[in-house]
Amino acid sequence: MNVRGRAFVFGDKIDTDLLAPGPYMRSPIKVLASHCLEAIDPNFASEVQPGDIIIAGDSFGIGSSREQAVQALAQLGVGALLAKSFARIFYRNALNLGMPALVCPELEASRGDDVEVRAAEGIVINHTSGHQFRCEKMPAELLEIVAMGGLMPWLERKLARERA
């Protein structure tokens, strides 16, 4: 599970209302995604490209249980999330939707840096700066859910086994 892309760097406590703003919650995910993070970075949704990587500070995803906070990032093609720490529900939502989310307290990167995430190994390489960083290893049972593409494929397999 390797992802390589450009870094988009944000600060601490990026909340779910910044990621999935309430006034667009009735709208289809494409519309909602176009407003992702606009309150702090109006150009983010138009600039981000498939495979790009979000790098944030502590408590990334704090706030609502709304899964659209992850879905909006996935819709825009974001390939992985790296943060000093994640809000609990958001972290679950990311794994459940197959989005790699790694806790990397030491990571240093600037916007636009060429960053590679090796989720299974717990390593992040900043190819621009030439530095390598260790991330916290995900528990095996959770890594399995992400590697399968999220909780839905995991449930499909579980049900198939039970029915077999």
Partner: protein
């Protein structure tokens, strides 16, 4: 071996003798709650894809509160889908009668010792009844509906003791805003256990506010050990507790991550400045911030007790000329009670606009959205940028006393100034 209340509930639900913080366990769900925003709208098609059915419809409750009443076609379609799905699956559905956390409490669904999961971040509210209740997203809800269980990391317990007694004009909301500033919002994977004489004296509604805003601390849940007040509330709700509450309390020598002691007597009314509940400080320290809108609503700020607090301030007074006061009671039952005891009359005579029950403006989905440049003082749980409308609006948080006082003065103030004056 000594265990905290949270550990005891999780151990019981996961069929273990005991559990320890940091362990990942799978726990059986006693009650699962979802609402119109993250519920059937999101899970119906996923269950169809899996060809799976709800594991136990008697343990599932759906509450429509986010898009009620519908203000556009998208919202109306979401509500219609929610109704159809609940009926087809034989699941209890409360349709536009109040905010999910409050409706669960009114009907006695949450009982001491239960392990509960809610499809909403403020689900820790259920902890006010001595249960462990955590919030999750809609894919997690899908998995829980299929299997009847869910994985979780056993949280560390943090004890917060409030000794003494809250002064007049100070409430549970002030406690939580103070704690958000004091302890920050990064308390992930922690269960907050509230206790002390000030907590023991609180109504169930006020205890719900404590547990509810544990979400703002970033915690897994908040919890208050069940006592006589809990049992009385469950009896009133028509579902008396059949178990023994002595079983559901922390052992005195159980290991906690931290124990905090605060004195309720010295706590002043708190106001959180934009854009985080952690930006809280004493209301008396704010200087002349004019308010365009005062909003009394949400699961953490428009229950019957909250309406009473607002009425205490608003009685015989009028909302300031350049300020509008919107009030969205937390349930139709509470609206009826407030009508019967004269509270609604006090509020409307002061000039408040009465809104339908539901989540309303708090998540930016209902009436009361604010424009760019506008300042709103609200009793809601969080004031993140762009949550209640324009990203360029400014939302301050305060107790119902503080919001009502702000509406009268037209600016942020310490509500005790008004409470001490005779009208």
């Amino acid at each position: 071996m000594a265990s905290t209340l949270a550990e005891k509930i999780i151990a019981h639900a996961s069929g273990r003798e005991r559990v320890r913080p940091g362990e990942i366990v799978t726990a059986a769900i006693d009650l699962l709650m979802m609402h119109d925003s993250g519920g059937p709208r999101r899970v119906a098609s996923r269950l169809d894809t899996l060809g799976a059915k709800v594991w136990d419809p008697s343990r599932v409750v759906v509450v429509s509160d986010h898009f009620v009443p519908a203000v556009d076609i998208e919202g109306a379609e979401i509500l219609a889908l929610t109704r159809r799905w609940a009926r087809a699956n034989g699941v209890r559905h409360y349709d536009a009668v109040g905010i999910c956390h409050v409706v669960l409490q009114e009907h006695g669904h949450i009982q001491p010792g239960m392990f509960c999961v809610g499809g909403d971040s403020h689900s820790p509210s259920g902890g006010a009844f001595g249960a462990f209740m955590m919030g999750v997203g809609s894919t997690d809800i899908t998995g829980a509906l299929v299997t009847g269980d869910i994985w979780l990391t056993v949280p560390q317990t943090v004890r917060v003791n409030w000794s003494g007694e809250l002064s007049a004009g100070v409430s549970a909301k002030d406690i939580m805003l103070f704690l958000c500033a004091k302890l920050g919002m990064g308390n992930e994977n922690q269960a907050f256990e509230y206790d002390g004489s000030a907590v023991r004296k609180m109504s169930m509604s006020e205890r719900m506010t404590l547990c509810n805003m544990s979400a703002e601390l970033g915690a897994a849940t908040g919890i208050v050990t069940a006592d006589a007040a809990t049992l009385r509330a469950l009896e009133l709700a028509g579902r008396p507790f059949a178990g023994d509450i002595a079983q559901w309390q922390s052992d005195p020598d159980a290991t906690c991550l931290a124990v905090h002691h605060f004195d309720a007597n010295t706590l002043e009314p708190q106001i959180a400045a934009p854009h985080s509940p952690a930006n809280s400080r004493a209301a008396s320290s704010y200087e002349r911030i004019a308010i365009d809108q005062a909003y009394i609503g949400a699961c953490t700020g428009a229950k019957l007790d909250d309406l009473h607090m607002a009425a205490e301030v608003l009685k015989g007074r009028k909302v300031a000329r350049n300020t509008r006061l919107l009030i969205a009671p937390a349930s139709t039952e509470m609206t009826a009670q407030a009508a019967a005891d004269g509270t609604l009359q006090i509020l409307t005579e002061a000039g408040a606009i009465l809104l339908p029950t539901g989540c309303g403006a708090c998540p930016g989905m209902g009436a009361g959205i604010v424009a760019a440049g506008e300042v709103c003082l609200a009793t809601t749980a969080r004031n993140f940028k762009g949550r209640m409308g324009s990203p360029d609006s400014l939302v301050y948080l305060g107790s119902p006393y503080s919001v009502a006082a702000g509406a009268v003065k037209g600016e942020i103030c310490d509500p005790r100034e008004l409470l001490m004056e005779t009208v």
